[in-house]
Amino acid sequence: MEKILEVKDLKVSFQVYGGEVQAVRGINFDLYKGETLAVVGESGSGKSVLNQTIMKLIPMPPGKITGGQILFHGQDIVKKTDKEMEKIRGKEISMIFQDPMTSLNPTMKVGHQIMEVLLKHQNMKSQQAKERAIELLRLVGIPMPEKRVNQYPHEFSGGMRQRAMIAIALAANPSLLIADEPTTALDVTIQAQILELMKDLQKKMDTSIIFITHDLGVVANVADRVAVMYAGQIVEIGTVDEIFYDPRHPYTWGLLASMPSLDSDHKSELAAIPGTPPDLTNPPKGDAFAARNQYAMAIDFEEEPPMFQISETHFAKTWLLHPDAPKVEPPEAVKRKMRKLSSTFDKPVLVKEGK
C-alpha cells in the first residue's frame, strides 16, 4: 500500500508564560492511501496540536516544532515555508473542524466559501467554480443546492453546515483529510449521517483520513486503525480489532472500560480513569500515565516505557509487556470483549527503547 504520510519523532512545544508546554513529545506513525486512522485520547492529550501541526496551522510563535519530520508524499512539511504551505493546505491536505456553527464565515455566502478553494487551487473561472460548488453541495447531500449556494451560513442547520464544511474540505480532491472531532458538536442522528457521508466520499475519492475524536463508538464505526494518545505521545496503535479486542496498554483499558455499554446493568457504576492528565510544562519522570495507573510498577515512576510490538500492526508503550513484568488482568469490561487475534506474535518484541 502507498504510504502518504509518515510522522517521525515529531515534537511540538508552546512557549507560554509559565514555561514551555511540550504538547507533542515524540510521535511516530504512518498513514496509507485510502485508510482512516482514528486518533483518540482525552482533552489535552495533544491530538489537535498533532494534527494542526501536520497542516502547520498552529500559531508560531508561541508554537514551535522542536524536532522530527512530517513526510507528506516524501516531502518534509516541517521545512516548508508559509507560501509553500498555501499550496498544500486545502489542495493536498484539508481539515474539517469541530464546530460547524463557528467554522464558516457568517458574512459570506456558503457557495462563495466553497468557491474560494476552487478559485485558489483549481484555476477555475468564477462561473465554473460556482457550478462546481453546486455539484459539491449536491455531493454532500444538501437538497436544492442551486438555492443553497447563495445562502449564508445562518440559513443552514448545524448538520448542513458540517456538510458544507466537508464540501469545502473536499473541493480540491485532497489526498489527506484531517477531521478534528467533526461530529462532536452534532446530535446523534446527524452524527451518524455525517459519518456515513464521510465514509461514502472516502470510498469515492480514495482519500486518507485522520479522524480525531474522543468518542470510541465513532472510532469503531469509521476507523481502520486507531492511535491512542496520552500526554503528547502515542501509547498504543493498532487496527480497530486489535485496539478493541486485544488492547495492551492500561490507558487503553481505562478508555474502553469507561465506555458505557448497552449490556451493563443499571446498578454498576460507570467506570472512570481517576486523576487528571499531567502538566506538560513539566512532564513527569518515567511513564506519564503512571500516577493514574492502577497497574503501575516501580519502574513506571523511574523510566519511560519502551515501545513493544504485539503484531505486524500493533504497538504499545508499556512496561507491562516486558518479559519480567507480572501478569495482570485488564478490567472486567475489557476482558469480556477480549479475544485471541490470529496475527498476534507469540511474544511482544521490543522495538524502541524509552528515553
Binding site: 486545502g90 484539508s94 473542524f97 463557528t102 464558516l104 458574512t107 449564508y152 445562518h154
Partner: protein
C-alpha cells in the same frame, strides 16, 4: 425594505416631536429672555418687542404656532441677528460645516481603520504599540490644544498651510485634522479590538486551512466582519461632526454652524436654539437610520425587521 423604512420614518417623527417639545419647554423654564441685557429696556419697548415676536401669547399658542411653522421648514426670525432668519443662518453655516466635517470624517475613518488593522495584525509588536500611542494621544489631547498645536507647527513654523480663515482647500486641512483627531483615535481602537476578536474566530482557521494567503484572508474574512462596531460608532459621530464644532470654528475663524449651538443659548435666542436643535436631531436620526441599513448590508444575519425575509 420600503415598509421598514416607512416605519422607521414614523418613529423618527415621533422622536422629533418629543425633542422639540422638551427643548421648547426647557428653553422657557431657563431664566431670562432674548431681550435681557445689562441695560434694562423700557417696559413699553419690551412689550412691543414681545408682541412683535409673538412672545406675549400664552405658551400653548406659541408652541402650536412653532410646530406649524416647523412643518413648513420655517424656523422663524432670529432674535439677535436682525433681519436674518434661522433658515438663513443654517443655509449659510451648514455647507461650510458639512464640507469641513466630511473631510474630517474621511480622515478619521481612513487613518483610524488603517491604524487599527495594522495594530491588530502586528499585535503586541512595535507597530501595535505605536498605533495605540497615537490613538491615546488622539483621545486625550483636547481639540483646542490639537488645533493650536497644528497651527503653530504647520502654519507658523513650517508655513505649509494657512493659519485660519475659510477660503481654499488648503485652508481646510488643519481644521479637518484637528476635528478628526479624536474620532480617528476612537476608530483605531475600535478597529483594533474588533479585528483581534475576529482573528480569534474559528472561521479564520478555516480560511487558513483552505490555503488562502494572509492577505486574502484578511481582506475577505476579517475586515468586513470587524467593521461592524465602527459602523455603529459612525452614526452619532457623523451627525456631530458635520454640524460643526464651536471650538474648531472659533480657532480657525470658520463661518460654520457650530458657533450657533453655543451662542444661541447664552443669547436666549429662542428661535435659533430651536432651529439648530431640530436640525441636528434630524441629521442624527437620519444617520442612525443609515447605520442600521448599512448593518443589514454588512452582516446578513441582521434582518431589518418589518421587511419580508430576503428582500
Amino acid at each position: 425594505m420600503v415598509k421598514y423604512i416607512s416605519k422607521r420614518l414614523l418613529y423618527m417623527i415621533v422622536s422629533l416631536l418629543l425633542i422639540i417639545t422638551a427643548t421648547f419647554f426647557l428653553m422657557r423654564i431657563a431664566p431670562g429672555n432674548p431681550f435681557t441685557s445689562e441695560k434694562k429696556l423700557p417696559p413699553e419697548i419690551e412689550a412691543s418687542l414681545n408682541e412683535h415676536y409673538g412672545l406675549d401669547k400664552p405658551w400653548y399658542v406659541q408652541y402650536g404656532d412653532y410646530l406649524g411653522r416647523i412643518v413648513q421648514w420655517d424656523f422663524g426670525p432670529s432674535f439677535k441677528y436682525e433681519s436674518r432668519t434661522v433658515n438663513d443662518l443654517i443655509n449659510d453655516g451648514f455647507p461650510v460645516s458639512l464640507a469641513l466635517g466630511l473631510e474630517a470624517i474621511l480622515f478619521a475613518v481612513a487613518v483610524g481603520i488603517v491604524l487599527g488593522v495594522i495594530a491588530a495584525l502586528r499585535h503586541n509588536k512595535w507597530q501595535d504599540y505605536t498605533a495605540m500611542i497615537v490613538a491615546v494621544f488622539g483621545i486625550s489631547v483636547p481639540s483646542f490644544i490639537m488645533a493650536t498645536f497644528l497651527q503653530y507647527l504647520f502654519a507658523i513654523k513650517l508655513g505649509l498651510f494657512p493659519v485660519a480663515r475659510w477660503e481654499t482647500f488648503s485652508h481646510t486641512v488643519l481644521p479637518a485634522l484637528a476635528l478628526g483627531a479624536t474620532p480617528m483615535a476612537f476608530i483605531a481602537r475600535l478597529t483594533r479590538s474588533s479585528m483581534l476578536e475576529v482573528l480569534s474566530n474559528d472561521y479564520i482557521k478555516t480560511a487558513k486551512a483552505k490555503g488562502l494567503s494572509r492577505g486574502a484572508m484578511i481582506m475577505k474574512h476579517t475586515i468586513r466582519n470587524a467593521l461592524l462596531p465602527v459602523v455603529s460608532y459612525m452614526g452619532p459621530l457623523a451627525a456631530g461632526i458635520i454640524t460643526g464644532s464651536f471650538i474648531i470654528e472659533k480657532i480657525f475663524g470658520i463661518p460654520g454652524l457650530g458657533s450657533h449651538f453655543v451662542l444661541s443659548i447664552s443669547n436666549r435666542d429662542y428661535t435659533v436654539i430651536m432651529g439648530v436643535t431640530v436640525f441636528y436631531s434630524i441629521l442624527l436620526l437620519v444617520s442612525i437610520l443609515l447605520v442600521d441599513i448599512a448593518y443589514g448590508l454588512i452582516d446578513p444575519r441582521i434582518k431589518l425587521a418589518g421587511g419580508k425575509k430576503g428582500e
